[in-house]
Symmetry: C2
Subunit: 398 residues, 2 copies
């Protein structure tokens, strides 16, 4: 009989969105006359920009003729796409070697698969609350995780504990679910701490496009020394609305070289290259061609329109919560608004309270970790009209 990976028995059931769907459906069935507004899911709703659509059609057209047909592409991604992303970094003031950029089908795959490059016995630091993939992908390999607490005291921006040694550090900024965003000085402290510890930072910058303040770092590589200690994950899901089109990228600088237990030099860039070459066959040419168009100056300008739409929604929510005196995080450089449940409610109680009284569905913070149990996440990805209406209802309630 095969010995299975028994670490899977340690995974917590991922019932968050299923439970939300279940409770919402039950309510709707009982109250068919009361339409529900969904501000829970972290998925975009606006169409792709013109540049992307045009390039995606071109990508399909290329497949129609022998002369332009694209078969197996480079596992790392086409030069066109890698260069376009390097150009995007450059316009944001950051130099990234295209050879360090790996195109994938999304940041979820890469943040999940990256654990394969690490061995046993690392001290792995993961914030709580956080995107559940970091913890689950480590649990699947039997890795023990050390949590670092995000809470009201540190504005959900936990800082390093210099007395603690670490090997691997997960950071997501702007954060999912809290919307909190590190400034340069804070990120520099993390980079310095990683360099002191010879640790690796796994930096998830999936929401960087929401950052409006040019002083806030949109990439870990805005910080000096980061190429010696950090891998960065990013995606077109939020930047360009590619949640269903699927494209992401991961930067693994060639400077990331560590010694094996026997003193052999091991390059994380070379290891990731080998991992992807062995277990991935490259992202669809059609999608990569669309992605390259997104990162053109025109593409980014067009994407900005959708981002502004979502940012306007975020501002509507943020303004309402401010007016109501409800403490919240995010909403400014992030599509997420993370608020403290009023009247001491826990997050599931708050969920039921909002659903039953004002028919607004959000995401209970408990789904993102222990520290989320008295918080609630709303997103700016609904329509403007629904967002305004949901906030009107908030004002009637609190």
């Amino acid at each position: 009989m095969p010995k299975l990976n028994e670490n899977y028995l340690q995974l917590k059931d991922s019932y968050l969105f299923a439970e939300i769907a279940h409770r919402t459906a039950a309510y709707t069935e009982k109250n068919p006359d009361k339409p529900v507004i969904r501000l829970g899911i972290g998925d975009v709703t606006r169409p792709l920009c013109e540049c992307a659509l045009k390039a995606l059609h071109e990508g399909v057209d290329a497949m129609a003729s022998t002369d332009t047909f694209k078969g197996y592409g480079p596992e790392q991604g086409y030069a066109e796409t890698r260069n376009a992303i390097a150009g995007y970094y450059k316009r944001n003031g950051i130099d990234v070697d295209p050879a360090a950029i790996f195109i994938s089908d999304g940041a979820k795959s890469d943040t999940g698969n990256i654990t394969e490059l690490f061995g046993e016995g690392n001290v792995i630091l993961i914030p709580d609350p956080v995107y559940p993939v970091y913890v689950d992908s480590n649990t699947m390999f039997g890795n023990k995780v050390t949590y670092i607490s995000g809470n009201a005291e540190n504005d959900f921006l936990p800082m390093p504990d210099h007395s603690q040694h670490v090997d691997v550090i997960y950071i997501c900024s702007p954060n999912n679910p809290t919307g909190a965003c590190y400034n340069k000085q804070q990120l520099k402290e993390w980079v310095d701490y990683a360099l002191e510890n010879e640790a690796v930072i796994l930096f998830d910058s999936a929401y960087e496009a929401f950052i409006a303040d040019p002083e806030l770092p949109r990439s870990i590589y805005a910080i000096e020394g980061a190429k010696k200690c950090a891998i960065e994950f990013c995606s077109l899901s939020k930047t360009a609305g590619f949640t269903g089109t699927r494209c992401g990228y991961t930067v693994v600088p060639k400077e990331l070289v560590f010694q094996s237990s026997t003193g052999v030099e091991m390059s994380l860039n070379a290891m990731w290259n080998r991992r992807q070459s062995t277990k991935y066959n490259g992202t669809s040419y059609i999608v990569q061609h669309g992605a390259a168009a997104v990162f053109s100056e025109e593409g980014i300008r067009e994407c900005q329109e959708n981002l502004e739409y979502y940012k306007k929604n975020a501002a509507v929510i943020a303004d309402t919560l401010t007016e109501l005196g409800i403490r919240f995080y995010g909403g400014k450089h992030s599509p997420y608004i993370w608020f403290e449940c009023p009247n001491g409610m826990d997050s599931w109680t708050c969920f039921d309270y909002l659903l039953e009284n004002i028919q607004v569905v959000g995401t209970p913070g408990a789904g993102f970790g222990e520290n989320g149990k008295n918080y609630f996440r709303l997103t700016s990805f609904g329509t403007y009209e629904n967002t305004v209406e949901a906030m009107r209802r908030f004002k009637t309630l609190f």
Copy 2:
């Protein structure tokens, strides 16, 4: 300092295609007047069928409007695509539950990632010669592999050794690189052996569409009992020319339940579902919509034209080798022709000999394992004209 995955140090350098490219480029530079015919690479060259192109464009169009926009899809794949594949199985006489079908970006990802579901200490049987991903993805997790020999004595169709206990068995039929294809009786012996051992067969059927004889099994599930012991991997790469468009699927029957070391029942379907839900965000909607069209009756009929084109090439090669008295395998139910290097040459000597004398590039068998070292792989994915010309040159040489 992070402890890295030192199993990567055990990986053999994958220099096969790089070395082929290097030797070919060196020859071409010295002999610019002698055009080289490439029959080495296992990549398709014909455009996608009309059905697929139309549906891919529709998929892009859906992204252009809020009403039809597709964001995050189900990680397992859209019902449309899973049902279309179940329908394709059905037309080939096989019942597969759509809930057992997981859509992915390709069989390379799935055959690589599947190792994550298994624990330590399994006896893992892998044929030699074989597609290198099976071995490399196991080496990356520190798994020891037991080779089973494919050779001229068994027509490159190794059969179980009933005195040997195994836990996990890799089978690829029609085989890459040898083109050899198991018949029903032979596959039944493997299934019976797996059931006796309570082992899992990992069955790679990527080349099933090349099977012409209705008596030959196109799926492991054509064999009774296989749902209790086999996972099947397949892809649109060869069936529909999706090598650059990227779509595959993996069937994990719900019957595949094994006990953990402490007696807990573990379902491989549930584990794969959890793996994909955690580390994959679904295949691009655009690509899945194209894939669903491929598996319509009309789509498959259209794809057949390309397959016939490649099969005609394979026949040209097979007929020539037969005429020349060169012993070979495949070529009939496979795009691959695997021949014994004439005059006792080893496979790299044969590579140089063909390149220098008749400017034909193929793939040395040594790249697929120890048992390939006196064999050579040609593929039928070139143009008809080039294939005919390459074979004309063969006749002048041997």
